[in-house]
């Protein structure tokens, strides 16, 4: 579903990604962990071309997005993104947040877009907020709307960049619950997170990044019982206390 071949990303002199090779199969739940500044966001943002790699190739759903004149906007519709800071459209109601892109970008009928929007709002438990504005919602509710907004594009892939990091502790669980529910579907999920409980529960595979490289990858069992790299051990010992 996603394939990265020899991907490098430089910000001036700084190497945010160094020679990344990664293949994610359809329906896989991939969790990305690593210390701050290790390149996790850069990695996931390359997957929908919000960040342009310096070199290397990236394929999403069979299309090379790094190719000249690639249909990037098209590919983005099948690889939805959920941001740390929600990024809901503040001038639109919750329902409009969900239907704007399906109507304007995908050309779906308003009525149909609204019907599926209500279905996804029900799924994240927020039907009663459909006509509220984002500013009238709590952080956890906003993030659940953002997830519903992503789902209403009917994507094949959903990318999460630290979806719970900006939330107050008491709101983290409600968002994680929605994500766990989502993981039961066969949608491909890539999740950058520090929530190790979630990773253990949901991940098919975890990758650990440090200084722009994939240092180690494996199943949750492998990671939490006997990680091989010293850097992984050090990171996990800090984060798991």
């Amino acid at each position: 579903m996603i394939k990265m071949v020899n991907v490098d990303k430089q910000f001036g002199k700084l190497w945010a990604l160094k020679n990344i090779n990664l293949e994610i199969s359809a329906g896989e739940k991939l969790v990305v962990i690593g210390p701050s500044g290790s390149g996790k966001s850069t990695l996931i943002r390359c997957m929908n071309y919000l960040e342009k790699p310096t070199s290397g190739q990236i394929f999403v759903d069979g299309i090379e997005i790094t190719a000249h004149k690639a249909p990037v906007a098209k590919v983005r519709q099948s690889a939805a993104m959920v941001f740390q800071s929600f990024n809901l459209y503040p001038h639109k109601t919750v329902l409009e947040n969900l239907t704007l892109a399906p109507i304007k970008v995908q050309g779906i009928e308003k009525k149909q877009a609204e019907e599926s929007a209500m279905k996804y709002l029900e799924r994240v438990g927020l039907t009663e907020k459909a006509h509220n504005y984002p500013s009238q919602l709590s952080g956890g509710q906003q993030q659940r709307v953002a997830i519903a907004r992503a789902l209403n594009m009917h994507p094949k892939i959903i990318l999460f960049d630290e979806p719970t990091s900006a939330l107050d502790p008491e709101m983290i669980q409600e968002v994680l619950d929605v994500m766990v529910g989502l993981s039961k579907d066969n949608i491909t999920m890539v999740v950058v997170t520090h929530e190790m409980g979630f990773a253990r529960q949901v991940a098919d595979r975890i990758i650990f990044m440090d200084e722009g490289e994939i240092v180690e990858q494996g199943t949750p069992e492998h990671f939490f019982s006997n990680p091989s790299s010293e850097r992984t051990k050090l990171f996990l010992s800090k984060i798991l206390r």
């Binding site: 906007a73 993104m81 304007k104 970008v105």
Partner: protein
Amino acid sequence: MFSSTGPFAWFKWQALFADWQIFAQGFAYTLVVAFSALALALLIGIILGIASCSNIKPLELFSRIYVEFFQNTPLLIQIFFLYNGLPYAGIVLSVTTIGIIGVGMYHGAYIAEVVRSGIGSIAKGQLEAAYSQGFTYWQAMTHIILPQAKTIILPPLTMQAVNLIKNTSVLAVISGADIMFTAKSWSSSNIYYGPAYVVAGLLYFILCYPLANLAKRLEDKVNALPAEAGGKKSRLAKQDVTVGNS
């Protein structure tokens, strides 16, 4: 002053009121030029403002050069150029056209800056969210960024309209039939300058004061907004763009 020989002598006012139609025509003419120029300025300003944030280097460069050129040369010279220079290139424009194009292009530069700083005040995450949903840059601007920037853009934009109206008075130097020229020519034939310029000033005031007042009220509204909606930022944005107008 109002004595029978002073600059504001009563008989001079009487003469002016007798010729009120001439002034009404000047007023109407100024309105037409101002509205047309404002439409042009808005068109130029919005397109260049969007272009200047597009991350497309040639577009950014073009709008930068345009803005710097028009902001840093006097409007009067631009008007003279259109009036006296272009005929050498075989292009002869009517005075009205020169007024609309000259004033419109000049204020287009200022409006571009207003739009640019308005767009800049919207959080970067909004554009990213739009991109991540497959919106193109122009779609993102029209559906997501500009509707949010609108409240921030509106007050300085209204002040631009005020400046634009006042600046149509430069047309008097090329005999433009506007309020200013009407006052000038009417009074030069009978030397009743006093009432003529008072009335001219009053006519501009009638147009500009309500607008300036509106701008102030819009501005107060923006400042009452929370910072993330542009409440704080708009003040900086305004200083940034309203300096240097006549």
